[in-house]
């Protein structure tokens, strides 16, 4: 048992941190909040240049072929600068669904294009129930004239209006089990019949509601097997959720760093406020929770990388990190006093992001219901004896 980073992981983190701190200073992060595009689009080519868009992709598509845990570490660094990018939708969700489910032809077309930054993808999966489960999908795809006709609506789709292509999950068959009968389609974002309603959400991130009104598409836009999408999507969403927990950890850590540094500098009652035990208690607890959440993210990603049962660990991480990062950013705001509550406070982007991300890919309450299923309804996994896992 060894929870230390490898030399390569340390190098990855150090170089990412060095680059991002220079490219995204705190005052810039605040300025970007008022960008008309809704996110700092100029950062994406820079991220491509770093090679990060290829982190989880095989070398044949221009990728680095690194494990999920390394992607988690990288996302943590992006979280530390609250960097808004299409990383989740393009690289971790839609692109990966193509990698895991797509034909050779689709992979050769899509993957090098997203790794090189030429193309952005959005992920049109979740609908009215705003949950990352199969039951969310009510949009239908009716077979007609050798193609399909899509009808329905997708909610809270990140980068929908910025993407070149959209990955749509729809029902091709009516089945009692909601996990059956789903199919993925990859289509051009400007296909006739697709409408976008811009949503202005709390954090700096473009989102839209996507309305599919008799959208006619070709049969070759199907990704993977018809009716069998969930078997591809489920592990892709699981991995993305674990990696996202890294991003959330980064958000929390940076907010906490700001709070700690400010508590050392800010003098009231002739003391740095960090000398007060009340403040020390707050920060010690927030640090403890953030660190536990950080390692929950690593643990979940590590289980996935090692082909071990991970549903419980992913849900635990997402729920806990959701709470921990929200608390850390609220505390950072609180400790900055009146200044923390001003429009220009440097902690504000982090405060908003933590809350936004707590609800991305299922909120803490949702993931607790998953945890309950895992611990109450299923047989114990035996990770301890069967897989020698140290977490007993």
């Amino acid at each position: 048992m060894n929870l230390e980073f490898s030399e390569e992981q340390q190098m990855l983190m150090d170089s990412a941190r060095g680059f991002l701190e220079k490219a995204c200073p705190l005052d810039k992060i605040r300025e970007w909040e008022s960008l008309p595009e809704g996110y700092p689009s100029h950062m994406w080519p820079k991220i491509v240049e770093q090679g990060w868009t290829g982190i989880v992709y095989p070398e044949e598509y221009g990728g680095l072929d690194l494990p999920n845990i390394d992607a988690t570490l990288l996302m943590r660094e992006m979280g530390r600068v609250a960097l808004s990018t299409p990383f989740l939708s393009t690289i971790l969700l839609s692109g990966r669904a193509v990698l895991e489910g797509g034909s050779d032809e689709q992979k050769k077309d899509v993957l090098p294009a997203i790794v090189s930054g030429e193309r952005l993808l959005s992920f049109a999966f979740s609908e009215a129930n705003a949950r990352p489960n199969a039951a969310t999908v009510k949009t239908t795809a009716r077979a007609e004239d050798g193609g399909y006709v899509l009808n329905g609506s997708k909610h809270f789709v990140e980068f929908a209006e910025q993407a070149d292509q959209i990955l749509i999950v729809a029902r091709t068959s009516d089945c009692e089990d909601p996990e059956q009968g789903l199919t993925m389609f990859l289509v051009d974002a400007n296909t006739p019949g697709i409408q976008y309603k811009t949503l202005r959400v709390m954090a700096l991130q473009p989102q839209a509601k996507v309305i599919l009104d008799n959208v006619r598409i070709e049969a070759d836009s199907v990704v993977g097997e018809v009716d069998q999408a969930w078997s591809v999507l489920n592990p892709v969403i699981q991995a993305a959720t674990a990696i996202l927990c890294g991003y959330m950890t980064g958000i929390a850590e940076r907010a906490l760093d700001m709070a700690i540094n400010y508590s050392k500098e800010r003098v009231q009652y002739e003391q740095p406020i960090g000398a007060f035990q009340a403040i020390q208690n707050y920060l010690a607890t927030a640090w403890t929770k953030t660190t536990m959440g950080e390692y929950m993210a690593y643990y979940a990603a590590w289980l996935i990388d090692n082909d071990m049962p991970s549903r419980e660990a992913v849900a635990t991480a997402k729920a806990f990190v959701g709470y921990a990062s929200v608390e850390a950013t609220q505390l950072a705001t609180q400790l900055h006093g009146g200044m923390g509550a001003t429009v220009d406070a440097r902690t504000t982007p982090f405060l908003k992001w933590a809350k936004q991300l707590q609800h991305t890919l299922g909120n803490s309450t949702y993931h607790e219901t998953v945890v309950a299923e895992e611990i109450l309804d299923k047989d114990p996994l035996g990770l301890d004896v069967k897989y020698s896992v140290a977490l007993t």
């Binding site: 929870l3 230390e4 403040i279 020390q280 010690a284 403890t288 929770k289 590590w302 709470y323």
Partner: protein
């Protein structure tokens, strides 16, 4: 990063698990602390552990140890499995012997002390009590008053100590005393080993809310040979900090909290109240899941500490304080949660026939108060995290 034990570590873990199954009598299971009722039985088990060579894994061969390079992990696995097997009392005895006193002696003790004590420690034929706190000195241990003044070849000790668990069943008191007359706070302190049957020592046992026993120790003109000084005279504070770091890391195992919770989850899976399955109730499910998150967090913090203990010359003080303070944070809350789900049935104690889970949660509720104060209180451990981990300043008047 690897959350798995190596094949060797796993084999050792399974061996310990089997040993616990075979060799630890049921009466010692669920005994969370050392209790004088079971001392003889308990020491028999500890001697069997010693005979396996497990106590001395980390110790140099010259003192009867195994000289194992991977020893912190071996020690971790042994103590962790003991907790998992609900034999926390035995784990605690091993911790006292090997982790706190043995290791500190090895690090700072004179050659004479090492020769005299370490082989006996590794054979488990000696018992110690930790003799630090006083009626007026709890978390603020630098305020102790017990004096030990050198007269010729002996220290003459006067003072009283409180919450000295096992003082009445031990051979030696590992004692923090003031060796410099008139010294204040952290200065002039020393650690000495006092034989418990020395003339002038009175031990008065009393019981805690959770059923464990601890003692007051009164020392009146107790004479201690000066060879029993541990480390350097007047450097007691630094020595104490080292011993306390070891104590927090090894003594406070998170299984003490997660173990009862896991038993509770197992119970909820099949339990019914008035014909209704508890596992079908959405509120129960949500509460249990929420608590599960906190349990996983605590287990991970403990693993982080264990993993970092493998670093050369690193004592994971901050990580251990986090594990400890988290355990304390959850103390009453987890019992509140369980008792709420169990309704009045949870309040039935183990003496009550038909009490669900053997009256576990009535006992856990009474145990929780101890969680908050043992091995440094909740706020003290948070202060360690804040000042040593996060670099926050100390209060200055």
């Amino acid at each position: 990063m690897d959350f798995r034990f190596t094949p060797e570590e796993q084999a050792f873990r399974m061996e310990v698990r089997q040993f616990i199954k075979d060799e630890i009598p049921d009466i010692l299971k669920g005994v969370e602390e050392i209790h004088s009722d079971h001392i003889e039985l308990e020491m028999e088990v500890v001697r069997k552990i010693a005979a396996k060579g497990w106590l001395g894994a980390a110790y140099p061969k010259e003192y009867g140890g195994q000289g194992d390079n991977n020893a912190p992990m071996t020690e971790y696995i042994l103590l962790d499995e003991l907790h998992l097997g609900r034999a926390a009392g035995i784990s605690l005895t091993c911790t006292y012997l090997v982790s706190i006193i043995g290791n500190t002696l090895l690090s700072i003790g004179s050659e004479d002390l090492k020769q005299r004590f370490i082989p006996r420690i590794l054979n488990a034929d000696i018992r110690f009590a930790i003799n630090y706190s006083e009626p007026d000195s709890g978390n603020d241990i630098a305020s102790i008053k017990t004096s030990a003044i050198l007269e010729g070849d002996e220290y003459v000790v006067n003072g009283s100590k409180r919450f000295i668990t096992c003082a009445d069943t031990s051979d030696y008191l590992w004692s923090l005393v003031r060796t410099e007359k008139g010294s204040r706070r952290h200065k002039g302190l020393s650690i000495i080993l006092i034989k418990t049957d020395s003339p002038g020592i009175t031990t008065i046992p009393f019981e805690m809310m959770n059923g464990i026993e601890t003692c007051d120790v009164i020392m009146e003109d107790v004479r201690v040979p000066k060879e029993n000084l541990v480390g350097i005279e007047g450097h007691g504070w630094a020595h104490l900090m080292e011993a306390l770091s070891r104590e927090r890391f090894t003594m406070i195992n998170f299984k003490g909290v997660s173990g009862p919770f896991d038993r509770f989850v197992q119970w909820v899976r099949t339990a019914e109240i008035d014909g209704e399955r508890l596992a079908d109730d959405p509120v129960t499910r949500q509460k249990l899941a929420r608590q599960h998150l906190d349990m996983v967090g605590g287990k991970l913090m403990q693993l982080i500490a264990a993993s970092r203990a493998m670093r050369k010359d690193y004592i994971p003080t901050v990580e251990a304080a986090a594990s400890k303070s988290w355990r304390a944070t959850l103390s009453w809350g987890k019992a509140d949660m369980a008792l709420d789900i169990m309704r009045n049935y949870g309040l039935m104690t183990e003496e009550c026939p038909g009490a669900p889970i053997d009256g576990l949660w009535a006992a856990e509720y009474c145990w929780a108060g101890h969680e908050l104060s043992g091995a440094g209180g909740l706020d003290l451990n948070r202060k360690i995290i804040a000042q040593q981990g996060l670099g926050l300043p100390r209060w200055s008047n």
